[in-house]
Amino acid sequence: MDDIQTDDAPLASSKRSSAVEEATETLIEAKGDSLVGRAVTINKPVSELFAYWRDFGNLATFMENVVRVEVIDTKRSHWVVKAPAGRTVEWDAIVTDEQEDSFIAWASAPGADVENSGRIDFRNAGARGTVVTATILYDPPGGGIGKVIAKMFQREPAIQARRDLRRFKQLMETGEIATAATTHAQFEKESG
């Protein structure tokens, strides 16, 4: 296959093996070799969405696997994320670059249980609202706890990114996250 991109499709949809390397150039820092890209259109202005996302403590509201995000300073935050079998994995994320109402790029700090980096882009889509694109690079780890995590991460980031973006959209557009539960008890059980 020709190794030079000739179309306008996002890198994360590329079939070319060099896409990851190209992505790492635009992602500022390379923290892994598995690439996930997802986009969602949200019927709200860029500034509202950017502000909500940039307040990282909000992210656990709609990110299913995130237990909590502790904001340490303007650039650094500490992430606690659910892993299978009741365990959690943790890392510090550092904002490596950002532009208000446009994008946020991050990379995990050294010592992360799961190395990862990525960027969230917010693009004005006129009457449609805002296109939010998540591009994530991650390193499926191996060995020990890593094996359990790998199972989760090799299978999950694409699905998780898609579902988390859907929940972000629901929360921003409707003020709530859809659930089919009928009682609080059932809701708690399902969101475990």
Binding site: N43, R163, T174, E176, I177, T182
Partner: protein
């Protein structure tokens, strides 16, 4: 509370389950006063719909009294409302275009995966119709949690009988949208395949939209009689060759618009082998995809095809050549119930549309399992079963 729960093929029971609670700000809880068994519920009953789980509460045609409201609900306790079967947010791109059944946010995020894989994008949520459509508990129950109660349920003026407005929840808007999708023009001749509730409402709607003649096609004599009452001419496909009859009845031109209201009246996901089972075992003694082929062949050149009938998967031998050469237009889709409710409520209040003719049986909720069995076994006589939780068991 008491609720009709699915336990497996031909096994539905009235169980005692937890009362629903307000979970999201825009929710309300309604106390059900009337609910109907839909033809599409029979496919759950027959075990044809995947992603059902034992204990799922059925029912997507229901109405009731508001008994509890979340902080963002615009309803008030004591109001009587009819609830659309499609769960839509009112705020997304598609709802903004009044394409409510295409709502982005009605389905819980995790449930969207199956529909996205099957259709490319997920559709709205539905009450009481499998986990692919959200896994929402349905309305054949004493109480229901209704999400997005500020944009879905329509308030019914006091003093209006439930039976006059209950079908705003699904089949009346579905029949109306079927006729609207046929883009009926004055002097049109319209042919409708299938005289179930949707087909019969499509017949009524087509006349209201200015059709000159409507030709209704079925094989249940009682249903054809009902179509005749609304002024339709009829073809019984067991007694007459449909294409030949239509050609002669339209002077060789063919109907200007054709409506395929046969199908499964289903609201969910079908895989093809399941469709084949259904075709073989129960549908009007005909191959169900046959109705859409027949409709396309009979339709006049440059005519319009409306397809409210549900097709979940792939269709073999779709006559694409005839469709292209004759320059037909096809419109279809799950019903955008919220869009049609206000206008149709007015039509009912002004007595331009009557829906009560359809109801053949009334029962208590406790008798629901009997209602399912009867509805399944006697399609000619049983046109619609309405369940009323407060109805004294006979």
């Amino acid at each position: 509370m008491r609720a009709l729960a699915w336990h497996g093929k031909h096994d539905v029971r009235v169980d005692t389950v937890d009362d629903p609670e307000i979970l999201n700000p825009r929710d309300c809880i309604i106390k059900v006063t009337a609910t109907a068994i839909c033809g599409s519920d029979l496919h759950l009953y027959d075990g044809y719909i995947p992603t059902m789980q034992a204990g799922d509460v059925l029912g997507h045609e229901f109405m009731g009294e508001v008994v509890e409201t979340g902080p963002k609900s615009t309803l008030q306790k004591g109001q009587k409302v009819v609830v659309p079967f499609t769960i839509a947010c009112g705020s997304c791109y598609h709802c903004g275009k009044h394409q409510y059944s295409a709502c982005d946010n009605g389905l819980p995020a995790d449930n969207q995966d199956i529909a996205q894989a099957a259709y490319g994008q997920p559709m709205s949520g539905l009450f009481g119709y499998s986990h692919m459509t959200g896994g929402y508990a349905g309305g054949q129950a004493e109480y229901v949690r209704v999400p997005f109660s500020d944009v879905g349920p329509i308030v019914i003026p006091e003093g209006i009988e439930d039976e006059k407005v209950l079908f705003l929840s699904d089949i009346l808007p579905t029949g109306w949208m079927a006729a609207e999708n046929a883009q009926i023009e004055p002097n049109d001749i319209v042919a409708v395949w299938g005289c179930g509730p949707v087909g019969l409402f499509a017949v009524q709607s087509a006349f209201l939209m200015g059709a000159d003649r409507v030709i209704a096609i079925d094989h249940f004599p009682h249903r054809l009689e009902l179509a005749k009452k609304f002024g339709a001419e009829t073809i019984n496909f067991e007694e007459s060759a449909v294409y030949d009859a239509l050609m002669q009845m339209t002077g060789g031109i063919g109907p200007d618009a054709v409506i395929d209201a046969v199908g499964l009246e289903a609201h969910g996901f079908f895989v093809d082998n399941i469709v084949d089972q259904v075709k073989a075992s129960m549908f009007m003694g005909t191959d169900r995809t046959h109705s859409i082929r027949q409709a396309i062949l009979a339709c006049r050149k440059g005519g319009r095809v409306s397809m409210p009938a549900v097709y979940g998967g792939f269709v073999d031998k779709f006559p694409l050549g005839a469709f292209m050469e004759k320059g037909l237009t096809l419109k279809t889709g799950q019903t955008h119930v919220q869009h049609y409710m206000p206008g149709l409520l007015n039509a009912i209040l002004e007595e331009k549309i009557d829906t009560t003719f359809l109801i053949s049986h009334r029962m208590s909720l406790e008798e629901a399992p009997k209602g399912y069995k009867m509805f399944k076994d006697k399609q000619n006589e049983v046109t619609k079963v309405v369940l009323k939780p407060d109805f004294a068991a006979a």
